[in-house]
């Protein structure tokens, strides 16, 4: 019996290790290569040395900064995504609170409409949205990257689900004391709803951090070009140097990695709850 368990354990770890190698080798290669010279990267391709960090040269990194405004891309992405997150939290949670707790004409119809909107894939409205943004004269502006994505039907839905499950007593007693709805929302509801706010913020951040198609279309000017689009341009910009691209990719991966490490618990919970609720 005991021997059997040991065998099982060995089998489990072997499987896990092989799989971990499969899932990690590209990323390890990316990071390790970013510190090597171009000839080293190519020479190492045929051997295990491709994954061994035996040199630590920062030349590729300085090369990236000479060739593209990497920091600018990074700041653009961070800025526009953060603004979407912050404005989105306000707008969507307010709407969700009204749907969850207030009485008004047309509420159930409006909410059903919002739920129905979840289904519309962004890709199918891309072109008319572009024409609308053009009509507003917003192409190549931050507004184009931000404003269309503040309101989010799914996030309204998530917030409402959470608010419905909050105990009403606190809000009712505050109302007895004469507090306005807005005040109740900010001083009582928001503090009680921290988990859903963090989850929605994270999911929104990660979604829009990965945005590609819309920024590609809505921005042609480098001054408002986000990181993902910048990476794609750099990748196709001659001369293509493996080392430079690897350094840029490594730097582009770090911000999300940091967020993930710090908010891992909420992130995983968010993914899971999005899955469970549906």
């Amino acid at each position: 019996m005991k021997k059997n368990r040991l065998l099982k354990l060995i089998g489990l770890y072997t499987a896990l290790t092989l799989l971990a190698l499969l899932f990690l080798f590209p990323l390890v290669w990316m990071i390790v290569s970013s510190f090597k010279t171009e000839p080293q990267i190519f020479a190492d391709l045929k051997s295990f040395k491709a994954f061994v960090p035996y040199t630590f040269s920062l030349d590729n990194y300085t090369g990236v900064f000479e060739r593209i405004p990497f920091i600018r891309y990074l700041l653009t992405s961070t800025l526009y995504v953060s603004v979407i997150v912050i404005l989105g939290l306000f707008v969507n949670s307010l709407a969700a609170y009204a749907f969850a707790r207030m009485q008004f004409k047309g509420r159930d119809f409006l909410f059903a409409a919002v739920v129905a909107l979840i289904i519309i894939p962004f890709e199918s409205i891309l072109l008319p949205l572009y024409l609308i943004i053009d009509e507003f004269d917003w192409l190549n502006t931050y507004q184009a990257l931000i404003v269309p994505f503040i309101a989010n039907a799914f996030n309204i839905f998530m917030f409402r689900q959470f608010f419905l499950n909050l105990p009403k007593e606190l809000e009712e007693s505050a109302r007895m004391d004469g507090a306005s709805t807005l005040r109740i929302f900010f001083q009582i509801v928001i503090p009680l709803s921290k988990p859903v706010f963090i989850t929605v913020a994270l999911l929104t951040f990660i979604t829009h951090w990965g945005d590609f198609m819309w920024p590609l279309i809505a921005t042609t000017d480098e001054s408002v070009r986000p990181l993902q689009v910048g990476m794609q341009f750099f990748f196709h910009q001659p001369p293509v140097k493996y080392g430079h691209v690897m350094a840029a990719l490594t730097m582009a991966t770090v911000p999300l990695l940091i967020i993930f490490v710090f908010f891992q618990k909420y992130y995983v919970q968010g993914i899971a709850s999005a899955g469970m609720k549906n």
């Binding site: 899932f23 289904i119 279309i217």
Partner: protein, 310 residues
């Protein structure tokens, strides 16, 4: 999603004692609360959706908007005869048909593996999840290097086990499969996390009881685990399916739809006909068709989940 709207009425009784004035004030507040979101959703989601439908029945060409006129179902007829469109539809279908079952099963297998209570399991969870944390554009660029037929890691590694060399992205018969493999590699960790949450909800005593009855690991999987996560399984399959029909970034970054249109997809066509060829009418027709496909998948989801909960 459940039909959530039904439950709302019972949750809050009307404030019977409230005076009329206060009621009006509340009404004002509630419209104030919802209107920013509603206005934004209207302008940036509903309006473009309506426009897409409208344009799909016109010959709107971006450079000559004044000549726009209603052409009925002309664009849709054109679709049926457009070989490149049909090819894109087929490519998208191929991607969906392989990715949905394979990625779901891989994710489930990974979740079962990392659901063990053994030392260091957190590291492995992170490892499988790491590609998800990297964005799709970055992963696509990285894998274009890996798939390089002459100077790529993929051929070096496959060479060790005596396979290859392959042309990968530069061969019309291999390009889509190369994208499929990479996409599963990138996305499986995400579904794994959802499965894992589902697996952890299954009460331990069910497994203990089965062990006492002498059930094998396989029997436990079939009779306890799978039924326990059935809804999640359906949910994941559908979500993966919808995401897979949206395939765009990988072919855009890695192959530009080539070679010989072998990696062109529906969304790629929407992009290309709309923004490269500026054929708004035709592009909108593809977009609407794409929307209908997504809609049908979602309706199937609803049906499936309802049936399995009954």
């Amino acid at each position: 999603m459940e039909p959530v709207t039904q439950k709302t009425n019972e949750s809050r009784p009307l404030p019977t004692v409230s005076p009329k004035q206060k009621k009006r004030k509340n009404l004002f507040a509630s419209y104030g609360f919802v209107s920013p979101a509603m206005i934004l959703l209207f302008v940036f989601l509903i309006l473009p959706a309506i426009l897409a439908l409208y344009y799909s029945f016109t010959n709107y060409y971006l450079l000559t908007p004044e000549k726009m006129k209603f052409v009925g179902v002309e664009n849709y007829k054109r679709l049926a005869e457009d070989d490149i469109f049909l090819k894109s539809l087929g490519n998208t279908a191929l991607f969906v048909i392989i990715v949905v079952p394979v990625q779901t099963l891989v994710a489930l297998a990974l979740a079962l593996l990392v659901n063990q209570k053994v030392r260091g399991i957190k590291f492995f969870r992170m490892a499988f999840f790491a590609p998800v944390v990297t964005s799709m554009v970055i992963v696509s660029i990285l894998w274009t290097f890996i798939y390089n037929p002459d100077n790529g890691l993929a051929n070096s590694i496959l060479n060790i086990v005596g396979l290859g060399p392959f042309q990968f992205l530069t061969d019309k018969d291999q390009a889509m499969y190369s994208i499929i493999f990479m996409s599963i590699w990138q996305g499986a960790g995400y579904q794994m996390m959802i499965f894992l949450a589902g697996l952890q909800e299954i009460p331990d005593h069910l497994y203990e009881a089965a062990s006492i009855d002498g059930a094998s690991a396989w029997q436990k999987l079939i009779h306890i685990t799978i039924p326990g996560i059935r809804n999640i399984l359906v949910f994941i399959a559908i979500v993966t399916m919808i995401a897979a029909t949206k395939l765009f970034i990988q072919p855009f970054v890695m192959t530009q739809g080539g070679p010989l249109d072998s990696t062109k997809t529906l969304v790629y066509m929407v992009y290309e006909t709309g923004f490269k060829f500026r054929d708004v009418g035709y592009s909108s027709a593809i977009a609407i068709l794409f929307f209908v496909i997504v809609l049908v998948i979602s309706i199937l989801q609803r049906k499936f989940i309802k049936e399995s909960t009954e």
